[in-house]
Symmetry: C2
Subunit: 393 residues, 2 copies
Amino acid sequence: MTTNITLPNQIVSAIRSVIGTETALLHEPSFNGNEWNYVKECLDSSYVSSIGKFVEQFEGELTNYTGAKYAIAVVNGTAALHIALLLAGVSNNDEVLIPALTFVATANAVSYCGASPHLVDSEEKTLGMDPIALREYLNDITEIRNKQCINRHTGNVIRAIVPMHTFGHPVDIAELKVVAHDFCLEMIEDAAESLGSYVDGKHTGTFGLMGTFSFNGNKTITTGGGGAIITNDEDLARRAKHITTTAKLRHMWKYVHDEVGYNYRMPNINAALGCAQLEQLSTLLSAKRHLFKRYQKAFENISQVSIVKEPNGCQSNYWLQTILLNNSVTNQRDIILDSTNEAGFMTRPSWTLMNDLEPYKNSQKMELSVAESLQRRIINLPSSAHLDMDKVC
Amino acid sequence: MTTNITLPNQIVSAIRSVIGTETALLHEPSFNGNEWNYVKECLDSSYVSSIGKFVEQFEGELTNYTGAKYAIAVVNGTAALHIALLLAGVSNNDEVLIPALTFVATANAVSYCGASPHLVDSEEKTLGMDPIALREYLNDITEIRNKQCINRHTGNVIRAIVPMHTFGHPVDIAELKVVAHDFCLEMIEDAAESLGSYVDGKHTGTFGLMGTFSFNGNKTITTGGGGAIITNDEDLARRAKHITTTAKLRHMWKYVHDEVGYNYRMPNINAALGCAQLEQLSTLLSAKRHLFKRYQKAFENISQVSIVKEPNGCQSNYWLQTILLNNSVTNQRDIILDSTNEAGFMTRPSWTLMNDLEPYKNSQKMELSVAESLQRRIINLPSSAHLDMDKVC
């Protein structure tokens, strides 16, 4: 009989049944391949910084993996988004549509361009932007003038839209692309969390003008700190490489920079780590998918909780395993977070919604009822690939 | 008899007499200590990114080395300058005094704050800002209103001054500090190139409100990509740490960010490399000083050329060895650059002056006659520490 067991204890037990009794962080990297070999090779070459073969190799392997024509490795995912937005033409006083439910980097990258985030609601099945609700909202508040989308309330141009693939689960990118087209918006895909996630067999990040990745230590693969921009547009790729490497013109010894550039290139030592990690990606993805199936089974009998599954037609990388509390038990969320963390299992709720953060509290926004609901109900579970790989199943 | 030998050939011979017949880059790092051990330890721990012991250790060792109370490790020197300027209060429409003769990062960091660089001339003995000429200029063009320095030509506030220690040679920082005080300017020291350089026994970077370092691959020590802010002000240090780590408030699982922050932290794997490099610093500095002495001897009989020496009362790290052409032979500069590079010795001229770069061509500026002269006359020589350490002397 489990009926006398509290929900927090049921959840602790379910996690324990999947990953065992040892403590577990939310997400740790796995270094089971050539990580040390490549990093050592990099150190031995003394090319650890802006020059060296691993950056180019990493970029090449990213294009092979994602199917994008071009990849530009940068210092982190925030930098990738910043540059993608700049190159999409986002500038002072523009507005950019971003999900209310996202990591703060999405909003910050918009701010760095002198623009303002404009917050979009989620849909429950993807956790990401809801294209139908967004279209209705844009129909209400915007008008198209000279092929620009004008927010009638503020008078500003809404320049771009940045859908994000939440916890690796693909958003409804095909429908959002139609919305972007209909409202004259540039679409930049925030694929920070979704390396290894596909929509109808096409890699996330390849649907928009540009896509961006993060290789932070908590991601599916890591370069220590790192990110990348991918695109099929040769001119944008060239400009992205140029502007992320201080906009310096090529010359044996002259120092000429033809625009305000950024020092955003990925160091070679970080790219060396990334090359080894990319070799491991398919193994890591299999383990993460298998871990999902085991969590799914462990939670199937806890009626107040559902596990988040990849949307139909999509393949998720299952970056972060996620449960959703039923509305009836959202008041227990913080107790569940406390209980699981006290038991040694690192869990966390979703990010605070952007409009609840001090710097973005006055952002333009649509009604955010689904995002608000999700924010009260999401709990991420320990999700490292090694939690599956360590088990004999 | 050497009178028939051309100047370019004399210079090639002088370099060869110091560093031998093998090709040499301008500056390469030396990894002769615990670089492997610490980077491997970092990989083995799996803490390669934002969490891990090496970042804190690196920051601690930087404070020990420089004598600053606080150090904040960041992703590169440009990021360090950007944040230091923001925290000094530089914002939209401000002007910031920077040397005309500097790497473009100094100007770019000003631009990122929405401010404009205002260009200052050099003096020959330090290659850096000339405090006497600057004072005269500021007396001419500014007035103090409400403890703010107003540029009477533009009406803008000149908020800060960023002296830079060129090629590691200390600028006249004591006198510039007096100018900064007298004209109500915040002083941020761009010590990107001068780790290991001292003025009257006090480390460069510790004279202003904040100082910034670069650990790019071409610097005296490297972290692959990296930088740091140092300061004696506890509140600024706390704010610098906060704003470079996405302005996230500490909490076990809540994601609350209280201002627009940056993803500028140094990854742990890069800090691991830095910890090993700092252990080698005194050895590297001795080698670089010795290399200078050998270059000094090799060039002493070439009358059209002088070698740049640390200013009186200062100790330079001799990051980049530098010769200055006499005015009579500046027309041979590019031939000398071509000849030396063709001989396998990587040399380069100084950076293009900021006012000669497209993005900064309309910058406010004082008369830049010394910087212009230096720009025509500077040639940097191969300067790696190993060029000395490899030799039996």
